[in-house]
Amino acid sequence: MTNSEPILQVNDLKKHYPIKRGLLNREVGAAKAVDGISFEINPGETVGLVGESGCGKSTAATSIIRLEDPTDGEVIFNGGDRQGASRNGDGTHPNDVTRFNKRELKRFRREAQMIFQDPASSFNPRMSVGRAVSEMLEIHGMKDKHRRRAIVEDLLERVGLSAEDYDRYPHEFSGGQKQRIGLARALVLNPDLIIADEPVSALDVSIQAEVLSLIDDLQDEFGLSLLFISHDMGVIKSICDRVAVMYLGEIVEIGEVEELFRNPQHPYTEELMSAIPNPDPRDRSEGISLSGTVPSPTNPPSGCKFHTRCHKVVQSDEFDLEQEAWQQLLTFRQQVSIQGVDVDEIRENALLGRSEEEITDSVLKSEVRKEFDLPSELSDREAEKTLDNALDSIIADDFESATETLQSTFTTPCEEIEPEFTDHGDGHRSACIRHRNEIQSMELAADD
C-alpha cells in the first residue's frame, strides 16, 4: 500500500492453549486457537479480521495487545516514536511486543487501545463515565484534575456526546452511546492503534451505522490505525481498507476490501459474503449456505482445515459427482468414522407409520441416506457401489469396515494437502488448493 513502515506487523503469531488430562494434569495436546497468522497494518489503515465465532479472531486480538501471552511469533509495533528500528543481531526485534518488559508494556498499552463488544459490561456502574474515561489519564500519570476533566469533556463532545455527560452514569446511556464512551476511553490517551473487537455487533443496525461512521471520522481526525474484528462481512465492507479472513486459527485469505469482495478467492470468503442478508425481498436465493460450525481447534481437520464444510471441496480424480452429493458423501464418511450413525434410532424413526415387517434393509438404507441428505443414487456407479457396501456394513453394525470402505474410496486432496498462499495481485492472497496450479506466491515474507 504505502512504502512507509507498517505500524503493526504480526509475524507467524500463535496462541495455543494446553489441554490437560489425567490425575496429574499432564499436557496431552493443545487447542490451537491462533495457529500462525501474519499480517500488517499500515499507518492510518483499517484492517479487518473476519471469521465466525470460534475462529480465533478475538484470541488473536488479545494476543497482539498482550492481554494474553502468545505462544510463538512476533508482534512488531512501530507506533509511538519507535519508527525506524531495525532488527537486533540475534534476529529479535526491539519493537516486538511479545518481548516487551513491564515498562515498555505500560507505554505500549497507552499507544495501543482496545474496544470491546459489550459496552455495558466494560463500565463500572458506580463510576461516572467521565471518571471512567479520565481514570485512564490518571493511571498513566496525569496529575492535574482540571486538565483531565477538560480533556475528557472535549473528547466526549468529539464522540458525539456532550460535556455535561461527564457526571452521568453508564446506565443513563443507550447501547450506542455507551459504545461512544468506549471510544472516548480508547482515544483519551491518544493512541496510534486501536483494536476493536466486534464493537458494533451488539448494536441495532441503525446504531451500527452511526458508530461505524463515527469510528471512520475519528480515524481521520486522530490519524489512527485500526484493527477491526467482526463476524459480519457487511460491517467489514463499510469500514475496512483491507481484510483478513480467518478460519480455525489461520488466515485463509487477505486483501483489499473492494478487491476481495469483488473477487473472493477462498470458498470460505464466499460463504461469509453470502451470509450477509440481502436487503432485497425479490432475491431470496439461498446462495451458498455455510453448514455446521467451526470444528474444535483441539483437533482440527487435516489438510485444508475448511474442507469439512467447504462447498467447493475438491473431488478425487476418479469421480465426477455433483458437488453437493460429494460434499454430503464426505460428511457422511466423517460421521461413520466417529460412529455418528445411530441405526437403532433411524430404525425407530422408520417405524413411525410403518409396521415392523416393512422395515427391510433397503428401507433402512434409504432412511440412512435421507438422514444424511445423500441422493438416493449417486451418479457415479463405482461410487454408488462403494456407498451401498458401506451402508450394508453400517446396518450390520460393522462400522469399522464401513469406515474402511468409505475412507479408501472417497478421498479429497483437500484433506491431504495443506494449501499454501496464492497471490492474486495487489497483496490479495488466498490459501486454497484449487489455486495450486496458479503461480505460487512467494513466501509470505516478513521482510516483505
Binding site: D204, A209, S213, D216, P279, Q335
Partner: protein, 346 residues
C-alpha cells in the same frame, strides 16, 4: 386459508407501571396474521416491538405491565380468558423463540429435558414418545447426532445450535403461530443465514405462521411476507415486503433503509434517540428526528394511517390530504436497492 385471520390484534396497548410514571410500550396498535404468513415487525430497540409480541399471550410480566385491547386467535378472544386457558395456548398453538438462546435456556437442564418439558405439558405422551419426538425435532432443525446430544447441557451447544434447539422446542407441539423475537441478533451472520433458511424451510414444512421481530431490514427482506414498521409504540408503516422495500413511504422506514451497511458510510444512522416512553411527544413520534418534519408534525396525536396503495399504509401527515407527499416520496431508495442488488449479484 379461512376467512378469518389466524391472529387479529386490535388496539393493543401495553403499559408498565414504573417509578418514572406510566411507561407506554405499545400504544394502541392493530395487526393481523394470516394462516401460513410471515409477518415481520421491524424497528429500533425500544420501539415496543418485543412487548407487542409478548402481549399477545401475555408473557409480559403483569404487573407491572398491563395489556389492553383485543387479541383474537383463531376466533377466540385471548384477552378475556383465564391464565390456565392461556397457558394451554402458550407453547402449544403459539410458540415463542427469543433473541438470546444463551440466556433463554435454563443452564441446569439438558437440552432434551427442556424440549420434552413443553411437550409433556401440552400433550399426553409417554417419556419415550416425548424423547423420540424431541430427538426427531433436534434432527430436523439440523443438530447432527441428535439422539446423543439430547442429554447435552446448553453450554455444550454453540450459539447457533442453541437457537436451533430453541426452535425445536418451539416446534415440539406443532404450533400454528411461531413468534420469533430477534432470533438471530445474538448470532454470527453466518449462523443467522442458516437460521433464517431453517425458518423458511420449516414454515414450508409445517405451514405455520411466523411473527418475526427484528431491527435488521436485511433479515426482513429474506423472510417476510408482510412488514410492520414500529416506532415508539406506534405503527409507522405497513405493507407487503415489496411495497416496503421498493417504495418505503414513511421517513422512518427510509431512515432505517439507509442504515443498512450496504449503503456504506454515506449515512450516519438515524440521528437522535427514541422518545421517552413515559412522556411521548405530541404529534408524530418520529417528528423530532425526521428530516422532513413540519410544524404540523408535532401537534395532536400520531397521524392516522393512510392507505397509499392496497395493503400499504403509512402514518405520516404528508400522505394526508392537503400535504405534498412527494416531499417524502422523492427519496430514491427503492431503485437504489435494485441497483445495489444487481451489483452484489455480480
Amino acid at each position: 386459508m379461512s376467512d378469518e385471520p389466524l391472529l387479529e390484534v386490535e388496539n393493543l396497548r401495553t403499559t408498565f407501571d414504573t417509578d418514572q410514571g406510566e411507561l407506554i410500550a405499545v400504544d394502541g396498535i392493530d395487526f393481523s396474521i394470516e394462516q401460513g404468513e410471515t409477518v415481520c415487525i421491524v424497528g429500533e430497540s425500544g420501539s415496543g416491538k418485543t412487548v407487542a409480541t409478548e402481549s399477545i399471550t401475555r408473557i409480559v410480566p403483569i404487573p407491572p405491565g398491563e395489556v389492553d385491547g383485543s387479541v383474537r386467535f383463531k376466533g377466540q378472544g385471548l384477552q378475556s380468558i383465564d391464565d390456565e386457558a392461556l397457558r394451554d395456548i402458550r407453547g402449544d398453538q403459539i410458540a415463542h423463540i427469543f433473541q438470546n438462546p444463551q440466556e433463554a435456556m435454563n443452564h441446569v437442564y439438558t437440552i432434551g429435558w427442556q424440549i420434552v418439558e413443553g411437550l409433556k405439558i401440552h400433550q399426553d405422551v409417554t417419556d419415550e414418545e416425548a424423547r423420540a419426538k424431541a430427538v426427531e425435532l433436534l434432527d430436523r432443525v439440523g443438530i447432527a447426532n441428535a439422539s446423543a446430544r439430547f442429554n447435552d447441557y446448553p453450554h455444550e451447544f454453540s450459539g447457533g445450535q442453541k437457537q436451533r434447539a430453541m426452535i425445536a422446542m418451539a416446534l415440539a407441539t406443532d404450533p400454528d403461530l411461531l413468534i420469533a423475537d430477534e432470533p438471530t441478533t445474538a448470532l454470527d451472520v453466518t449462523v443467522q443465514a442458516q437460521i433464517l433458511d431453517l425458518l423458511n424451510e420449516l414454515q414450508d414444512e409445517f405451514g405455520m405462521s411466523i411473527l418475526l421481530v427484528t431491527h435488521d431490514l436485511g433479515v426482513v427482506a429474506q423472510i417476510a411476507d408482510r412488514v410492520i414498521v414500529m416506532y415508539s409504540g406506534k405503527v409507522m408503516e405497513r405493507g407487503d415486503v415489496y411495497q416496503i422495500f421498493e417504495e418505503p413511504a414513511h421517513p422512518y422506514t427510509q431512515a432505517l433503509m439507509k442504515c443498512l451497511p450496504e449503503f456504506g458510510g454515506n449515512a450516519g444512522g438515524i440521528q437522535g434517540t427514541l422518545p421517552d416512553p413515559t412522556d411521548p411527544p405530541d404529534g408524530c413520534r418520529f417528528a423530532p428526528r425526521c428530516e422532513h418534519a413540519a410544524s404540523d408534525c408535532t401537534v395532536g396525536d400520531q397521524p392516522a394511517e393512510i392507505e397509499i396503495e392496497p395493503g400499504h399504509l403509512a402514518s405520516c401527515i404528508y400522505y394526508q390530504q392537503g400535504y405534498d407527499s412527494s416531499v417524502v416520496q422523492n427519496d430514491d431508495l427503492g431503485t437504489n436497492a435494485n441497483e445495489r442488488t444487481e451489483a452484489a449479484d455480480d
